[in-house]
Symmetry: C2
Subunit: 382 residues, 2 copies
């Protein structure tokens, strides 16, 4: 056992402190516009209430206990989703009492930890393999607990999940006859559809998933198996699932922050998603300006993921972020508007992996630092 005492010092280990002006926050830093963030949380809560559907917020987006708590308290989320056991451990240790691990847990060391967690909070896990059922059952019995299982179906992502309804029935029966396990329903997330730009094409993909889920439920019912929970949907598709009469739980995560890539997803009118605002920003500053038409800022690959494209610069159409290297960002500045130490807000290309690089969220309201939230489950991928 190793113990470590950590001391926080602004600039060395934390980018800001409460009460500071936004102008004094050390760059680069991950900023939350608290008004926009709370609007997004309320908006999703209102949508779920209005449509009579549960919202289980996906915490893989933010990995923050503080944000999860706000999603539940302010947004009425019934609980959260996690992707990894270590994420669930952090969330449950932080007081979040209802967690769906929306992923397969097959490693014996992880199954052991999962079963221990099931005695601490309401916990569910996804399954797509028969042998895994046996292993989960053994661990549940050993730890004198009950593990609630959702069978994951592959409804178009081509990733995890079983493909046929008959396999689902077989797995569900196997779960129900395994000591310590109980079949709760279906995990059916069409991840591949979330970022399809065109509304109709996205709708077609999601509606195919909905039909598949509906057919699967009928097959299950015919075998006397009931689905308490039919869970899925993301920020790009949630209104389709909510109106389906088939799903009863939404798993949206990115809605809380939004990002440049989700801004490219269109609604029925061809506009970008407008019900949620950008609330997550990367604060950066110009640190070299030796050319009239270019500036170099301090936000490179070490503070953002560019897997889904480059960030864009918020509220500025005179300049453009055009290249990202390890430690630097290149900004086209055709009118020579920028000078050293100018500060810019970037909208990250992809929120989830960008948040996973940072240790802190700096919460801003009216240009003041109102709170510092640790990215509690940062790096928790085990």
């Amino acid at each position: 056992m190793v113990y470590e005492t950590r001391r926080y010092e602004v600039g060395l280990t934390i980018p800001a402190e409460v009460g500071m002006s936004l102008d004094d926050v050390h760059t680069p830093a991950l900023i939350i516009d608290l008004d926009a963030f709370e609007n997004n949380v309320r908006q999703m809560g209102a949508f779920a209430r209005k449509n009579g559907i549960r919202h289980r917020a996906h915490a893989k987006t933010h990995k923050s206990v503080d944000i999860a708590r706000i999603q539940m308290e302010l947004g009425g989320a019934v609980g959260i989703c996690c992707q990894k056991v270590s994420e669930a451990e952090v969330m449950i240790n932080g007081g979040i009492n209802d967690v769906l691990v929306s992923n397969q847990i097959v490693d014996p060391r992880k199954i052991e930890r999962l079963a221990r967690l099931a005695n601490k909070a309401r916990l569910q896990v996804c399954v797509d393999d028969g042998d895994n059922v046996a292993e989960l059952s053994k661990a549940a019995v050993k730890h004198q607990t009950e593990l609630a299982c959702l069978v994951e179906i592959d409804c178009g992502s081509g990733r995890c999940g079983v493909q046929s309804g008959f396999q689902v029935v077989e797995l569900a029966e196997r779960i129900n006859s395994a000591p310590g396990l109980v079949f709760k329903g279906l995990q059916a997330y069409q991840g591949a559809a979330q970022h399809i730009r065109n509304f109709d094409e996205r709708g077609t993909a999601v509606k195919a998933a909905i039909r598949q889920v509906s057919d699967t439920i009928q097959l299950l019912n015919a075998s006397g198996l009931l689905c308490d929970i039919v869970s899925g949907a993301g920020t790009g598709s949630y209104y389709f699932e909510a109106g389906s009469g088939v799903y009863n739980e939404l798993q949206c995560g990115s809605y809380v922050f939004m990002d440049a890539d989700y801004q490219r997803v269109q609604d029925a009118e061809g506009d970008c998603i407008h019900e949620f605002e950008n609330s997550l920003f990367l604060l950066t500053a110009v640190m070299s300006k030796t050319r009239r038409d270019k500036a170099i800022c301090d936000a490179g690959l070490k503070v953002q993921s560019v897997d889904s494209g480059l960030p864009y610069i918020f509220n500025r159409d005179d300049i453009e972020y055009i290249k990202c290297s390890d430690e630097h960002g290149e900004i086209a500045d055709p009118h020579n508007h920028l000078k050293l130490n100018d500060r810019l807000l970037l909208v990250p290309g992809h929120c989830d992996p960008t948040c996973n690089i940072h240790d802190w969220y700096v919460g801003i309201r009216h240009n003041r630092v109102e709170c510092l939230w640790p990215v509690s489950a940062r790096g928790m991928a085990y």
Copy 2:
């Protein structure tokens, strides 16, 4: 001031413990093959000695105090480079006594911290702006210290650095006449050339940089200014700079780990760089296998940066890592060789930003965990 006591528990906060078999390390985890790593360190040390040139290892690759120390003790490096003040703080607090911040520091808060550091260790910083000289001088005087400055020249990267020799002379003179500052020489890193695949094309780009540096030194000498230090070069080009008679310090960083992208850089015979071995791996495990021709592993964007391409699977030509999403990797498995919990070693596409996501290096020798090194300056981008 906030204090936090941290307890480490395998699987929850650390991926392994010393003495463990590689088979028991929790996945995904960042692994160092210690034999290969030490070979790389020795190899670079021997090259520098043989060529009568200093090596100042770039710590932005690994961000680890432990590795920096080994580069100095085993590899004979004279010190390290850092890109950020917060990185330098961690390194100097960890006992590294000779640090070049190979970047511009222009933010007043950062200049303040930099000047404080200069009283704790041998410290140098890069400059490409006249106003910045005045600010650095003020801070040095305030903290009763001397800041050694290198003028950065843009020798082909099109990023930071001044472009003409006359500007270099002007800046050097300004530095020498500023209280608390001393002009030490040139920072001249041709970053854009490092990853040019073809040996001759890469050589052409680097030789142009060398000529520019040489011309600049002549101009400086004609004004009575001497360059103690001419620093630059990376893993893709170091032999050009070392043989130039112009550079006297190499800044290679990636050589210590290597990555998939550097493996695509060719030597004179068209082979990949062979003097350094892959020593950095991402240990991953199969966590879903519902299709004969595909497996899903637990290493996605949350544990690696794919900015320079996907990872490849070490020592396996029967399977291929073909797609990376937030939490999952898709592996083409045309012969249905893989099963649940099979473990694979990935060679990351790009080492620097991949290391910056992880909290720990797991050092392996003969399939046993020999050491756990924290990624000490992880996330230190301020």
